[in-house]
Amino acid sequence: MAEIYDAVIIGGGHNGLTCAAYLARAGRKVLVLERRHILGGAAVSEQIFPGFTYTVCSYVVSLLRPEIIRDLELPRHGLQILPLDSAFVPMENGDHLALWSDPATTRTELQRHSRRDADAYPEFNQMMYKMGFAVKPILGMVPPNPLSPGVDDLRRLLELGRHAKGLDARTFQQLTKLMTMSATDFLDEWFESDVLKALTAINGIIGTMLGPRSPGTAYVMLHHFMGELDGAFTVWGFQKGGTGAVSNAIAGAARQHGAVLRCNAPVAQVIVRNGQAVGVALESGEEIRARTVVSGLDPRQTFLKLVDSRQLPAEFATAIGNFKYRGSSGKVNLALDGLPTFTSMPDRALLQGMIEICPSVDFVERAYDDAKYGEFSRRPFLDVLIPSTIDPTLAPPGKHVMSIFVQYAPYKLNGGWSAQQRDAFGDAVVNTLEEFAPGIKKLILHRQVLSPWDLEQDFGLAEGNIFHGELTLDQIFFLRPTAGWAKFRTPIRNYYQCGSGTHPGGGITGGPGRLAAMEILRSSK
């Protein structure tokens, strides 16, 4: 007689692993089934080119919930986050903008661009910090269901109300603005320097099919501002070994608590009997029984692929069908023979921080224009990091790896994605880089290009959306993935969801995994 697991988790992404670790820690017998040969999902490090470790998809960490780091003792399992100290933007006129973690240096630099902005910048950060502090408790909370509230929901709504009431009028007003405005409109109220606005606004477009002038992007900006390391907000860091090492740390904790983690085990279907999940069937035909089945995949796969949609209430199936993905980003990883030279970079130390190809708001908005009409950006916005300059173990001595997050690359490309289109897209990225860092092309030893189509094929991300669905206002909190089903449950009994398509959403947060585990443990008490 085959074993019966307390919980089978589909997908070994960092959220599935987090959920597994929490369940195993509570004494549950847990099995994780991962389709690929390697754990981590979109948080994965691989040596695609020998000797060079790419942080294949995600590259920076800061949204990872501190309570998870503590509960699972992740540093013991290899979590090591190195701070990133600077952001550098080369401009088209040969000038640049460089922000440093040291406020005085940043101030001096900003004064070159605008003395007014130099004053406004710390105030802006303080305001965003305050907003982050105001919204932060929501991230650690299971969303209440305002549609048909139970006792618990009422308690949570009350808590939320109390929390909102505690905010002063000005904070509340700023919060409302953030919730509704475009990143650029919001920033216009603060700054006059265009390049500073461009740099700040990119936090509002990452992972969305929106431009810096699209309403709603101000909120996404806040989402990225909520990164919290060591109790200090907005500190982004790089995990030693790439983000795969974050997944491995969580996997280490899960294993230590007794969870079984299986790779090369794609799940074909959730087995449902009498409206109740009882196990899963693998693509190999193997069947595994479980008291609880948890999906760490995005809502489309969770509901429309792994189960027969006839098992779902029609209204629900429609809502899930309407959930927006609209993948808009791609990723290029390079192995380099040496460090590139950015024409306008005043200090080589800036190579160790973020390098942002967003010389102006117009540049980024134009990149979006291409995508709006089904083309990838000819001159895309690039979020560049050379991780080997802070973690020398990623490449042989003297050589480097470069991680380039690219926007925009629409999933629905005119004529569809093909190998040629992927190459052309890779060329557009490298050519744009070459404009600001002449000679970089000659340094390239190997290039990996991931279009949104590849992200869907290789990593199972629907339409290549990096967050398992856009983080727009209509798709967050108790609306994620859809009204009435934000509490990690599904219309099928004993079938739960724990991926980024649930609250508090995408990014390496572990939030969905942890909160889902807590709901599962609570309901099976």
Binding site: P66, I69, R70, L74, P75, L79, Q80, L82, P83, D85, S101, D102, A104, T105, F133, D230, G231, K240, T389, I390, D391, P392, T393, P397, G398
Partner: protein, 395 residues
């Protein structure tokens, strides 16, 4: 006026912060950049170069060298083979710690001793009647610590692949860029690391050679602030902070014994007579009055305290080293002596000296925490030391 160390021309050029402290009469960099965090991460994830020239160094040789060392030190120096290094404290006749350091047997009967404080007189006083020569070589040896997980790789690059064979707490002589260097696999970081001793005339060239070899592995200079954080993570006590040398105070209550400081393992009562042996034997019999432990400050508890002020937790960015009361059930049971936020472990880690009945790992205790100038008690858990002990330290 503090003196420049033999590496001063190099450290001064790098010291953007202009932040220095005095260390045994020398200028020692607190941090090189405006913030010490990158130096901290260099020690823990890549490698760092630290000027440790201000350490006191002695050469002990002659027929009775071993006899003298075994008379002074608590460990059994007879066990220190040629090419080996031992860490050891030394005590006064009441078994209270004067200082600690390392003993290296460089050649048969030739030992190098390092110390935090001047020790020539103490060694000489104990050498009465022995045929032994003690040379104060403090000024004739420049010293550098090369510490961090990539330190081995960098050292091999600079001094040749044979250094790969150098084991934990062993010594080797090597040549770096044609200069003679004496290398021990030791350090004050709890990481993989080496200490290098060389002629002060070679100091600058040695620094340059190491920096060049380490450049592709992101070697950087690190100062005292980063070092103070890592040594707490490593559970290593600092004299004048976590304890006071028995020579630096006239009050017994301020003195400590090896047993009280968690250094009981270094006391070899069986080896024969040594300074402080009788007192230490009696103490072992009756049990130490204090135990040195780690405290893991409970984040949730601290968070609750800050919440009352509507604030998130705010911790000092550097290690602290002043006595803070520790309680159990509102009764004081000892003191915390130093602490730091550990960016690597994501924990607030503290070294403390408490009554031994509370020393079992896992015991819940409380530590005083001052928030907005108001005193509170935060929960903490007793933990075994070190907090951080990576396998590559000994591998």
């Amino acid at each position: 006026m503090p003196r420049p160390s033999p590496f001063y021309s190099r450290t001064a050029a790098l010291c953007e912060s202009h932040s220095w402290q005095e260390w045994s009469g020398f200028l020692s960099a607190n941090m090189y950049e405006l913030h010490h965090l990158r130096e901290y991460y260099a020690i823990r994830t890549a490698a760092a170069l630290i000027d440790i020239s201000p350490l006191y160094k002695y050469l002990v040789h002659g027929r009775d060298a071993l006899k003298l060392l075994n008379r002074v030190m608590t460990r059994d120096i007879a066990r220190c083979a040629v090419g080996q290094v031992l860490y050891t404290p030394w005590c006064d006749e009441h078994g209270r710690i004067i200082d600690d350091g390392t003993v290296t047997q460089l050649a048969p009967g030739r030992y190098r001793v390092t110390a935090a404080d001047p020790s020539l007189r103490w060694f000489e006083d104990n050498a009465t009647g022995l045929q032994v020569q003690i040379d104060d070589i403090s000024d004739s040896l420049a010293a550098l610590a090369l510490q961090g997980p990539l330190a081995g790789e960098i050292l091999q690059q600079a001094a040749g692949p044979a250094l790969a064979q150098l084991k934990y707490f062993r010594h080797a002589s090597a040549a770096i860029a044609g200069m003679d260097v004496s290398i021990t696999r030791t350090g004050y970081t709890g990481d993989l690391g080496y200490e290098l001793f060389a002629d002060p005339a070679d100091a600058e060239r040695l620094w340059d050679a190491l920096m060049e070899a380490g450049q592709p592995r992101l070697l950087r200079a690190a100062g005292q602030l980063a070092l103070d954080m890592v040594r707490i993570e490593a559970g290593l006590l600092l004299v004048a902070v976590d304890f006071i040398s028995s020579k630096k105070t006239v009050f017994d209550v301020q003195k400590s014994t090896p047993y009280e400081l968690g250094l009981g393992w270094t006391v070899m009562l069986e080896k024969g007579n040594f300074v402080g042996r009788a007192a230490l034997a009696a103490e072992r019999e009756r049990g130490a009055a204090w135990a040195t432990v780690g405290l893991d400050v409970q984040w949730d508890s601290l968070e609750q305290i800050y919440k009352r002020y509507g604030m998130p937790i705010h911790l000092p960015e550097t290690a602290w080293g002043n006595a803070v009361p520790v309680y159990s059930d509102e009764v004081q049971i000892g003191r915390a002596t130093s602490g730091t936020w550990s960016p690597l472990l994501k924990k607030y880690v503290v070294l403390a000296r408490i009554q031994p009945q509370y020393a079992k790992p896992g015991t819940p205790v409380c530590m005083e925490a001052t928030v907005e100038a108001q005193r509170h008690m935060t929960a903490a858990r007793v933990t075994a030391l070190p907090f951080y002990n990576p396998p590559h330290k000994r591998a």
